[in-house]
């Protein structure tokens, strides 16, 4: 029987994670592994049980987009103790030396890119709102910090509302509508990820505020289309596809040679997507 690689991602209903899962699966199959692709729905306990399963199935390696920087440490350590190397993607954990590699898109750098584009589009002044991600997801915090490290330098820019929409499109929609009521004259909305950007933009379209600037984060195809239609200004592409495949390749090399030849932490820089390059974007990959 072939060796088994277990791929665990938060969910399969956010295109971002779906891409991760598909990319990793395809690559692993290509390299001749059996694949078990699981979702933990951002539930640390479920993730822990899935790691148990990987151990029970005597997996050769685990590719993991984890459910929380701290709550995931023990689970990954458990896998290591059971002799199963883990390769983290997208989200990092707050402990080094447990996972073999942590390939994470540079959320901070990506956020600063998005922030600069947002400030520029706003003409460096005006009121704006921020939609942040799941509070329990470190990426949410990192991105918010990245945004503000840029935006707070412009005295003209004033954040008049900040709400978490839990990465959710529906929530972003209704929160956006309510925020618009309290703050009728906001000029822009900066969102922690693309699903929330989509929700916000839908609300703005419905309210006839087509000129309000929206910036997202991820680089999903939905947002790409919205950018081309002028509904959204920009998003920071996390090369999810590339990251996932890198992780599998490194896992393969590690299993064969006992080392990846790379440092544990690998930051992959994000790329800003605007009208200029949107057409080259597909499935979180930017063709040259």
């Amino acid at each position: 029987a072939n060796k088994l690689i277990v791929v665990i991602t938060p969910s399969h209903d956010n295109p971002f994670f779906a891409t991760e899962a598909d990319a990793a699966t395809a690559k692993a199959k290509a390299l001749g592994y059996d694949v078990l692709s699981l979702a933990h729905d951002d539930d640390a306990d479920k993730q822990n049980q899935e790691i148990d399963t990987a151990i029970a199935r005597k997996a050769a390696a685990i590719i993991l987009d984890n459910a929380g920087a701290d709550v995931s440490v023990a689970a990954v350590a458990k896998a290591k103790a059971a002799g199963i190397p883990s390769f983290l993607i997208d989200r990092e954990i707050n402990k080094s030396g447990v996972a073999v590699t942590q390939i994470v898109s540079n959320n901070y750098q990506g956020a600063t890119l998005g922030g600069q584009k947002f400030a520029e589009a706003m003409g460096e002044s005006g009121e704006y709102a921020e939609l942040t991600g799941k509070p329990s997801d470190t990426n949410a915090g990192v991105r918010s910090k990245g945004y503000h490290d840029v935006l707070d330098q412009f005295s003209g820019l004033k954040m008049v509302a900040q709400q978490s929409a839990d990465w959710s499109q529906t929530e972003a929609y209704s929160k956006m509508e309510s925020i618009l009521q309290a703050q009728p004259n906001i000029k822009g909305v900066i969102a922690g990820n693309d699903t929330m950007a989509m929700g916000a933009s839908a609300a703005l379209q419905a309210a006839g505020k087509k000129s309000v600037i929206v910036v997202g984060f991820d680089g999903s195809n939905d947002v790409r289309d919205a950018i081309e239609q002028g509904k959204i200004v920009a998003t920071s592409l996390q090369p999810a596809f590339e990251i996932a495949q890198m992780a599998v390749a490194e896992a393969d090399q590690f299993l064969k040679t006992g080392s990846t030849g790379k440092p544990e932490k690998q930051l992959i820089n994000c790329v800003l997507i605007t009208k200029a390059n949107a057409d080259k974007l597909n499935n979180f990959t930017l063709s040259p």
């Binding site: 969910s11 399969h12 209903d13 295109p15 779906a18 509070p135 509302a161 900040q162 709400q163 978490s164 959710s168 499109q169 529906t170 929609y173 209704s174 929160k175 509508e177 309510s178 925020i179 618009l180 009521q181 309290a182 009728p184 699903t195 989509m198 929700g199 839908a202 609300a203 379209q205 419905a206 195809n221 939905d222 289309d225």
Partner: protein, 356 residues
């Protein structure tokens, strides 16, 4: 709405205006007024027409589900599957618009127009509801467990339709003659948003069914004492299946409006909506034991919840506190309900004693 509530009221309980029912909805109504006042004082432009319209639109979605839920709870049942049906309905509609119905044999694809799409989606909701009803009646599975099962099944189905993907940009294609879907969510008639009109109509119709038709009367009877109802010639199974079908229909309608607003449908949408729908129903004075409750009360309950969550967002209260406050208000509203009713009864009795 208020009218609807009052008529719902005046005919609730049993034949007509029974005192306890009146009090119940009055309490919820007071709770509503309290929260509204609070926010109009604390929150800038809360009481503006435009805000209230958005508010009503948000309430509508929950109210659609809660109205269907009310019929189910009146029979002593419960429907946990409505949230999943919202998600499923969105995906059905989204799929029909973006992908259509491929007929592989002929190698062609049929794109139903919006009316057909809506009809098919509502039908899908009614099928799940019918499944619930059959499970509860023919296979006598406890409603809670039957609808818990369909909660998972419908959600899974929603995810499988697109393999988890979102159907984006549901504007349709003029060439296919399937444009116009966004109207449900953002269209207006004489300047009033469609979903608000839909809410008014649905409230009126449901209130009428509950209080004026023999079907409605039998719903109350089944919830009040199933044995007695059966011996009185009520066809229990028929009534129960019907209420679950109604609930599925209402949930599917809510799902249509949600994805029409987003102009996109996401298989995860509607998660845990059932809790809000049930909360609205119970806040509105419907007894989970069955047999007591009014449509009007339910709609008022939905408004209490809606005003609350929107108001807090507008105030900029942080998400964690929002959760705590929501919990406290749900409980307080019901407690107020109880306390006030007790006081009322006491006073009535004192009066009688004095007169006697």
């Amino acid at each position: 709405m208020k009218i609807a509530q009052l008529r719902g009221l005046s005919l609730g309980g049993g034949t007509s205006l029974s005192l306890p029912m009146l009090l119940i909805s009055m309490r919820t109504f007071i709770a509503l007024i309290v929260v509204v006042l609070f926010f109009s004082i604390t929150t800038p432009n809360f009481l503006t027409p435009s805000t209230l319209i958005i508010l009503a639109k948000h309430v509508a979605i929950n109210a659609f589900m809660a109205i269907g839920m009310t019929f189910v709870i009146l029979t002593g049942g419960i429907d946990l599957s409505v949230g999943s049906i919202v998600g499923l309905a969105g995906m059905v509609a989204g799929g029909l618009i973006d992908v259509g119905i491929p007929i592989n044999a002929l190698g062609v694809t049929i794109y139903p127009n919006v009316v057909e799409t809506v009809a098919m989606t509502l039908a899908a909701g009614m099928v799940i509801g019918g499944l619930n009803g059959v499970l509860v009646t023919k296979l006598n599975v406890a409603p809670f467990i039957a609808t818990l099962g369909t909660l998972y099944i419908a959600r899974g189905a929603a995810l499988l339709i697109s393999n988890g993907q979102t159907f984006a940009n549901l504007v349709g294609t003029p060439a296919y003659g399937n444009t116009g879907f966004p109207f449900l969510g953002s269209g207006t008639i004489f300047g009033v948003p469609f979903s608000i009109l839909a809410l008014v109509v649905m409230t009126a119709v449901a209130g009428y069914i509950a209080t004026q038709t023999s079907f409605g009367r039998q719903v109350y009877a089944v919830g009040g004492n199933e044995n007695a109802a059966r011996l009185s010639g009520v066809r229990i199974a028929r009534i129960k299946i019907a209420v679950y079908v109604i609930s599925g229909l209402c949930a599917a309608f809510a799902g249509l409006v949600v994805s029409s607003e987003l102009v996109a449908s996401n298989p995860a949408s509607g998660e845990s909506f059932e809790l809000n729908a049930i909360a609205a129903t119970v806040l509105g004075g419907t007894s989970l034991m069955g047999g007591r409750g009014t449509i009007g009360g339910t709609v008022v309950g939905a408004f209490v919840i809606g005003v609350l969550s929107d108001g807090l967002v507008m105030m900029g209260v942080n998400a964690f506190w929002q959760m705590v406050i929501k919990g406290v208000v749900i409980i307080t509203a019901v407690v107020l309900d109880q306390v006030q009713r007790k006081m009322q009864r006491q006073m009535a009795l004192q009066a009688q004693l004095a007169s006697a």
